[in-house]
Amino acid sequence: MAIAESAHLLTIGGVPLKTQLARAERSRKLRAVALVLPLFLFVVLTFLYPLGRMFYKSVENEGTMGRLTLTSEALASWDGQSVPDEAAFAALAADLKAAQEKREAGEIAKRINSEFSGAISKFKGITRKVEAMEAGPYKEVFLGADKVWADPALWRVIKSASDTYTPYYWLAAVDLKQGPDGIERVAPDQAVFVDVYGRTFWIAGLVTTLTLILGFPVAYLLATQPARRANILMIFVMLPFWTSLLVRTTAWFVLLRTEGPLNDLAELLVDQRFEMIFTRFGTIVAMTHIQLPFTLLPIYSVMKTIPSSHVRAARSLGAGPFLAFWRVYFPQTVPGIAAGCLLTFILCLGYYITPALVGGPRDQMVSYYVAYYMNNLINFGQAAALGAVLLIITMALYWVYNRLVGIDNMKLG
């Protein structure tokens, strides 16, 4: 009866109640969207869009793009095996002349040299030669200057570098390159990045393990002590958590130094000073100290929800203290362990400041190389590709974290 009647219910304005309710619902939804929109646009425009633009740089031929357009056209129909024809030589000569006028010929040489070592000097020589020439034929001049210009391998590099896009930086980020017969490994003395990624994973994994070993018992202690005592002990965890990263790194820098307090103590005890600053050991100790609260707190908050009656029940059923802990209590803490360890691992992958200040040259992680290629070598393509690989790994782990824990369930403070 009520259902049949409601179809005809009207509001004061004479509109059916159902329509009015739907309208109100829609306007409420719109208002909710309007509240989120400013931040959403802010994040998309000043974060996601810049990220996209940066990764575009990792596939762009920055050094050569726009400087080898004629060569690119002339090489379009080249078979890739023979010595190119006069048209290609003339086009390259014209491109080099144009670039030289803008003092940009060096950029081209640098870019080609990154894939074909020794190219810089050849390019310098030939640029000087063709600059003096008014007209062709160029092929003889090139071949006369150096027989390297008859090498199809060099021309293949020129061709791939004159394209708009290049896989070069991405391949280089995993120590690969495009050789004459497809993709190959770079020379062992240039293969650095796989090692850097391996080191980053190793340090992150080790720090995560250490924080778990140190953090788990303390989390258990905090969760099982009476509230008053637990609150006091909690200060020991929360004060480092709230202290600036730079302060904690400063503290470790002071502590680990050869003339520092730790070594003073060591000299007193074993009459010897140890080298700890600028070492892997120092980096790992400092990172473990900084990350410990991040692993500990999620474990603690899961432990708080485990009723103490479970272990008592197990004990009363005849389990020994260790069996009761291992079979009844520990399995219930696994979600907290997963959340804490994953968070620490993700954060560790991006460490930059602490290794840069207390680590040695062999302890720097991926972030350091991104910064180094950006600021010191001004090789933006390589920096972007290195960053992209790191970002993909981080995002994959973040996805796992989100599935396991849910990002909005993250506990802060």
Binding site: V36, F236, S244, T250, P261, H289, P321, Y352, D408
Partner: protein
């Protein structure tokens, strides 16, 4: 055996159990010591009279504090940090609170996806963010080849970047206070004749204020601690306190870094106490007891 209750063990506990318990307490004590001592050890060193980074041997002095509070290099850094953190806090708190309010409305469309986007600046390694912003700030509007304006080496650029890094914390803390928030209170307010603005001011804001304030604190701390973005997109004009400390360690200027560290530790204590008080107040307001 009157020390047994101290270990939290019943009187029938076996010797083996007692030994284990003792080891456990010892281990935890050492870990807690490991957590707190590096921070505490900086404090006496900052009062050392000599320019070596070591414990005071004999004379104590406040000369590094004088340097910190009166040397222009440090006072400018403090001033820059305060300015940048202040504007970041305001921007991040407003944007983050509004977004959290919108997201907490029932049946918000594509909530999980939107949340993932809003939180993403917190997850991406900060070096990548800094590098991307460096390129972006060089020419924010790509419609023209020559940049119309540049945000690198400006206060606005650093503040916008810090706001980006800080908003996820505000969104998370405010969302947390809104879980379990009774939506019928909004309807109750409205049915009693209050316009939406009044409902917000009189009903919603008092309830979520602990979350908003602790979110604002997180935003402040994020900006106050941040150094990588400042290194990338800022110039020496935007030199903040963490950046000054970073170069202080790199170039080993003077033990003033330990004085700066001590001042920042005192600040962390204040933050810690404030957040704890806010958490208790929030639980009381929302009727959660433990």
């Amino acid at each position: 055996m009157d020390w047994l209750p101290l270990l939290g063990l019943p009187s029938y506990a076996s010797t083996q159990e007692r030994a284990w318990r003792l080891c456990f307490f010892l281990f935890c004590g050492l870990v807690l010591l490991f957590l707190i001592s590096p921070i505490l050890i900086v404090i006496p060193i900052s009062f050392n009279d000599s320019s070596f980074l070591s414990f005071p041997r004999g004379t104590w002095s406040t000369r590094w504090y004088e340097d910190f509070f009166f040397n222009e290099r440090w006072t400018t850094a403090v001033k820059n940090s305060v300015i940048i953190a202040f504007f970041t806090t305001i921007l991040a708190t407003v944007l983050g609170t509004l977004a959290a309010l919108g997201l907490s409305r029932p049946n918000f469309p594509a909530r999980a996806a939107v949340m993932a986007v809003l939180i993403s600046p917190m997850v991406v390694p900060v070096v990548i963010t800094a590098a991307a912003l460096y390129f972006f700030y060089a020419n924010p509007l790509v419609v023209t080849a020559e940049p119309v304006f540049i945000l690198n080496n400006t206060y606005v650029g650093v503040i916008l970047a810090h706001t980006l890094l800080a908003t996820p914390f505000v969104v998370i803390t405010v969302t947390a206070t809104l879980t379990g928030f009774d939506q019928s209170m909004i309807r109750a307010g409205a049915s009693l004749g209050a316009p939406p603005a009044t409902v917000f001011r009189k009903v919603i804001l008092p309830l979520i204020s602990p979350g908003v304030i602790s979110g604002a604190l997180f935003a402040f701390v994020t900006s106050w601690d941040e150094v990588v973005v400042v290194l990338f997109v800022g110039s020496s004009d935007q030199r903040t306190l963490p950046r000054q400390m970073f170069s202080g360690i790199r170039e080993m200027i003077s033990p003033t870094i330990t004085a700066a560290a001590t001042v920042l530790i005192s600040l962390a204590v204040i933050m810690l106490v404030t957040v704890e008080l806010l958490r208790r107040r929030s639980e009381r307001l929302r009727g959660i007891r433990n």
